[in-house]
Subunit: 214 residues, 2 copies
């Protein structure tokens, strides 16, 4: 009598009850293992124990499903970044704390990229429009998207006097570019397969460069 995500034939109620979320969850698992191109509509419906066309009651498109999965993956990224900040040891002074929080943004970003490459690639696979990377569905526990977390960390850097105010505008794009680029090189670029500790060092070097050059 239980069982809702089994094979095809058995479900006790005609209605699934929560198909939309079930599809997103299934898509998320597919994305985790194989990246965005592995998010296959028919596979997701199969996992949800439903016929392929049922998906069209909740998503106009395979693309719409992928979009929803992508948003959720982005939210996971946000949570990893938040966790990285939360795990920070108490800092001696406010400036050190701001600096540590800023670095944690980048470190968490890179950690997620390496631990969940499929989800990371899916989060940044945006066929249509990425403007809604700022959508609330992409936010973490604190309601902030990865982009907003970075912006907040930069603001703190300014407040702490570690970043001149006139350098603040546009700084998120400098920092984001560097960290995102490294993530790309690590995931499927020439730095792929780097030992995790080496990858961590590379990440710290990139963040050093950002601090110096921002």
């Amino acid at each position: 009598m239980p069982s809702a995500e089994n094979d095809k034939p058995n479900r006790e109620t005609y209605r699934h009850g929560d198909l939309r979320n079930a599809l997103i969850e299934a898509g998320l698992e597919l994305a985790r293992q194989g990246g965005p191109e592995a998010v296959v509509l028919r596979a997701a419906t199969r996992q949800a124990g439903v016929v392929p066309n049922a998906a069209y009651r909740h998503f106009t498109d395979r693309n719409a499903l992928l979009q929803a999965v992508s948003q959720t993956a982005m939210a996971h990224l946000a949570r990893t970044m938040e966790a990285e900040q939360a795990a920070l040891p108490p800092a001696t002074d406010e400036a050190a704390a701001a600096r540590a929080r800023f670095r944690a943004v980048g470190t968490g970003y890179l950690r997620f990229a390496q631990e969940e490459p499929g989800l990371f690639r899916t989060a940044f696979h945006v066929p249509g429009d990425m403007a809604h990377a700022a959508a609330p569905t992409a936010a973490g526990a604190a309601g902030k998207t990865p982009f907003e977390l970075l912006g907040a960390a930069l603001d703190d850097l300014v407040k702490a006097g570690l970043l001149p105010e006139d350098r603040r505008p546009g700084a998120e794009f400098l920092a984001w570019s560097a960290v995102h680029g490294l993530a790309a090189l690590l995931i499927d670029g020439p730095l792929r397969g780097l030992h995790p500790t080496q990858a961590h060092d590379a990440g710290q070097h990139v963040i050093d460069m950002i601090e110096r050059g921002i």
Copy 2:
């Protein structure tokens, strides 16, 4: 006697003669317009005026074809970077020249990403192994791959005394990360659709950051 890439039925010789290259060429055009996922085996063979299975005499896989297209796209990138350096005005002194050549590496890279986003994404779409980004098929006119062009520019920076020798090791990954990340943001990230001049400015800012932080 000419005419080899027509419709399906007409080709005068039973053998195509240069099918492998024809398929790569067709794939390149598909990639230009729609990125890596647009490189469809059947479409390429159609364009070459050949039956789908003919492709399997030259590529084991769709993936093998895509790989070949990707390499060619990488070579185009190399040529764009070389062109950017070649277009440099004569510099006053050697240090200025080295610096200009270094910046041209990044500027050319970003120019290609924006002018040919489909090819750029295809060049960096490496399903299997990207180790052979250093393969000769990925090189430009001077026989250097994009990665090697960057390395050479950095070496010149050291020779010109603009980059301390102890900062040289691993510097390519710092620079590459930053520029590649910006390219990603510009192509299908939140910076997409930026006015070309604004995009150019963003590129210069990122390169500024690299010069400061490297």
